[in-house]
């Protein structure tokens, strides 16, 4: 696809963002952002989860609009109103969730929706084009393999290749390395360097600082929608300082953290490894949690948290190691985990509840197949409704109507309903994955109180979260996950931005953290 006349890539700064702001409801996702992408550079955009990186990328790509501010592209005023317009101007945006059609081949994806593509798909020429680009960049992207059958790293290469083939003059990669292994990341870096040398500037979004030193020329730090550092030279920058800047001040807010008596060890995680095709998995984790103790597992989302949550609740097949609750090995059996009193607050309410089922069915679902509330194998609807009514009362689910559909409740009440199901009895182990995520302050407080209550009743509590405030509010002790490994572990009193930042960004040597 050809570029607009008059927009000569040789002249004009590739991208200049001036005073761009964007608000989502009450969240100021971007505030007065100033940013410049120079010709021939790879510019890293770093920041914590929710810093606004993807929002900025989407504004540049045209898929969402800014509330105020202006942009220019290769010296021309640039006001895309859609992704299509952004693409026509030469901006390619490769998102974290890759967007190739999985049931088609790369060649088919190349032509699908391509501006100016002929109405009839010409398989031979599409294949030839994929092969040509693939050779050009020394990749091995197969033209006629289904996207479904390709490893993630190759899919990503295919997507970049398609962007280039479509005539991208500026490439935005949003967290491209988050699901890649070290070797694949190296290949990606090589590809980026190659593109840079061909004259395509790249905006590269990442949390992973170590790879940036090798990859990028300059670096911009975003925190809570504001630019903290603009365009620093990566080679001259102190990455530890950058990591600290990303996080900002971690203050131990004086939440009303109740005094909790520490018991003996209840949860032991021993050499735990999970391999996952979906995410990074986890590797060789060791830790113990005592009764009455709240362990915070922090890390940027996608560093093995899902696998850990699944492993601790018996839902994941372990590649190695054991999860032991009160001396009983519950590894790989959700049934045993439940019998051992393990409770699980799912991160995502859509996986944690049966949306189309009633409040009563949801509240009592933990008893399924236990023989409770049944006679001759038939569920006793009255008993279930009565019991659910009590639970809903106790956990203050509004409206307290056992017959209502779960999907009709607000987010906070859905979370309370999930808590009612999981915390009916005091758990031996509570795995709370993002327990206050997306909740209003009242509901968030209610969930924090549930976690404290579980600990006070002698349970071992594991709070897994990408939200540092959530962890610092709750935890007594912290372990940091990076790429599925523990990079640091310390009591909450020792938590500093420097230490946390370094461990979360992968600047700390992996350690076999064992502490109790």
């Amino acid at each position: 696809m050809t570029s607009e006349p008059g927009a000569d890539p040789a002249t004009g700064t590739p991208l200049s963002v001036r005073g761009v702001s964007r608000r989502f409801g009450s969240v100021q996702a971007l505030a007065n952002v100033e940013f410049t992408l120079e010709a021939g550079e790879i510019h890293a955009l770093v920041g914590e989860n929710g810093a606004g990186k993807s929002t900025l990328a989407k504004i540049v790509a045209g898929s969402i609009r800014s509330d105020s501010g202006s942009m220019s592209l290769f010296g021309q005023p640039y006001r895309p109103t859609s992704r299509r317009e952004g693409a026509a101007a030469g901006v390619a945006h490769v998102r974290q969730q890759l967007s190739l059609v999985r049931g088609l081949t790369v060649a088919q994806n190349l032509q699908l929706g391509r501006p100016g593509a002929p109405a009839i798909f010409n398989a031979a020429s599409a294949r030839a084009e994929v092969e040509r680009w693939s050779d050009e960049f020394s990749l091995s992207v197969p033209a006629e393999t289904l996207v479904d059958d390709m490893p993630l790293a190759v899919r990503q290469q295919a997507e970049i290749l398609i962007a280039v083939a479509w005539g991208a003059r500026l490439l935005i990669l949003d967290e491209p390395s988050s699901a890649l292994g070290p070797l694949e990341t190296r290949a990606l870096i090589a590809l980026c360097h190659r593109l840079r040398s061909e004259g395509t500037p790249i905006l590269y979004i990442s949390h992973r600082l170590p790879e940036l030193a090798e990859l990028a020329d300059r670096l911009t730090v975003l925190r809570s929608g504001r630019v903290i550092v603009e365009g620093a030279d990566v080679r001259a920058a102190d990455l530890r300082e950058v990591a600290t800047l990303m996080i900002g001040d971690v203050s131990l807010l004086e939440v009303n953290r109740p005094e909790i008596e520490r018991g003996t060890s209840r949860l032991t995680v021993n050499d735990l490894s999970v391999s996952s095709t979906q995410e990074i998995g986890c590797h060789g984790l060791n830790f113990e949690v005592a009764g009455g103790e709240i362990l915070g597992v922090v890390g940027i989302a996608g560093n093995g948290q899902d696998s850990l949550a699944k492993a601790l609740t018996g839902q994941a097949k372990l590649a190695s190691g054991h999860v032991v609750v009160d001396g009983e090995d519950i590894s790989g059996s959700a049934r045993q985990a439940i019998a051992a009193g393990v409770a699980h607050l799912h991160e995502d309410r859509s996986t944690g509840l049966a949306a189309a089922f009633s409040v009563a069915d949801n509240a009592t679902a933990r008893h399924v197949r236990s023989g409770r509330f049944t006679r001759f194998g038939v569920r006793l609807a009255d008993k279930i409704a009565r019991h659910a009514g009590e639970l809903v009362e106790r956990f203050q689910v509004r409206p307290p109507d056992p017959a209502a559909r779960a999907s009709s409740l607000s987010g906070g009440n859905q979370q309370k309903l999930m808590a009612a199901r999981e915390l009916e009895k005091n758990p031996t182990v509570l795995v709370a994955h993002g327990p206050t995520k997306g909740l209003d302050p009242e509901a968030a407080k209610a969930m924090r109180d549930r976690c404290f209550a579980a600990a006070q009743a002698g349970g071992a509590v594991v709070v897994i979260s990408a939200d540092l405030d959530e962890v610092s509010d709750l935890a007594h002790r912290v372990v940091v996950l990076y790429r599925g490994r523990v990079t640091d572990a310390f009591p909450i009193e020792d938590m500093t931005s420097e230490r946390l930042g370094a461990a979360m960004a992968g600047l700390t040597e992996t350690m076999g953290a064992t502490s109790g």
């Binding site: 998102r95 190739l100 049931g103 929706g113 959700a334 949306a355």
Partner: protein, 374 residues
Amino acid sequence: MADTFLGGDVGDAPPEPLEDEGRRLTTSLSTSCLAVLIAVVLGGLIMLMSGENPLTAYTAMVDGAFGSKFALGETLSRAAPLAIVGYGTAVALRAGLITIGAQGQVVAGAIGALVTAQFFESAPSAVAIPAAALGGALFGMAWVLIPALLRAHFSVNEILSTLLFTEFAALLIEYLLNNPLKPPTAITPQSDPYPDNGILGLVIDGTRFHVGVFVAVAIGLLFVWWVRSDRGFSYDLYGENPNLAQSLGISGNRVIVNSLLISGATAGLVGWIQAAGLLQRVYVEIASDIGFFGLVVAFLGGATPGGVLVAALLFGALQSGGLAMQSSEGIPASLSDIIQALLLLGFSIRYAPQIIRLTRGVMANFTLIGKRRK
């Protein structure tokens, strides 16, 4: 698609609100009623266009379906197998599985019943009849076993595999009835007559009301129990949210295999009823279209006990009424076929999003097969 450039942004948007309908495959009563209404009205319009009086036609149809002892017997005997297949399919549907292999399982069940009955040819009826029923059910289950295992262990799309097994069944029966099972004297492909001691008698003489109707009632009662049972609930839970079900200790593989086996067993029973009750011999066309209409009945009935029953009666009535209409008024019975087809269309609108999603999945599988073959 190369959405790199185009299309909506699904990027890192905040979590979506809980989707009410989620993966639900079951319809609500109102959509089903609407579908029926649309079909009746459109059917009437078509009759008008072809110069028939819709009122006369519908009256004749209702009369032919319910107006006499014979008519009622005919309707019930046609509704019974549809209901049985419908209940079995509903169990799978509620567990989130779309099996469309009932047709082949009916065929397999008929073969199973015949072979078993021939084995028990000299046994008393009290042994031969239940044995043949069991044989039919087991063959029906066997016919879905491989798709079930493939789905459970390799996530192979059950729609495709069950359909494929229906083809296998069609080929198998054609072979059997032309070769080993064909009596030397027969000219067309067919089996020996079904052994006398295994025949299901007619309940009311002068009608075609046979024992299969009672089997349908029994299966219906079992399905009512299933829907209210704790085990049934766990299967429904899996259908609604497999992740949650598994986190609560429900084995997904077991749900998949068992619910498909249940659907296979019911379809197999229908094969037995067809062979032992209605036709008393096995023909290539033994299943007529029962398997396929049984699926429609399950969908249209929203996979609930009452819904499936009503839908089966509706289709039974349409079929028997259509034939009666033809003989009494000379209006072609194919008009009733048209109404059945309209019904299908009418309620498939409700499923449009699911059907589109499915078609995509199936297409993906086809491309896969195409690729693998190269």
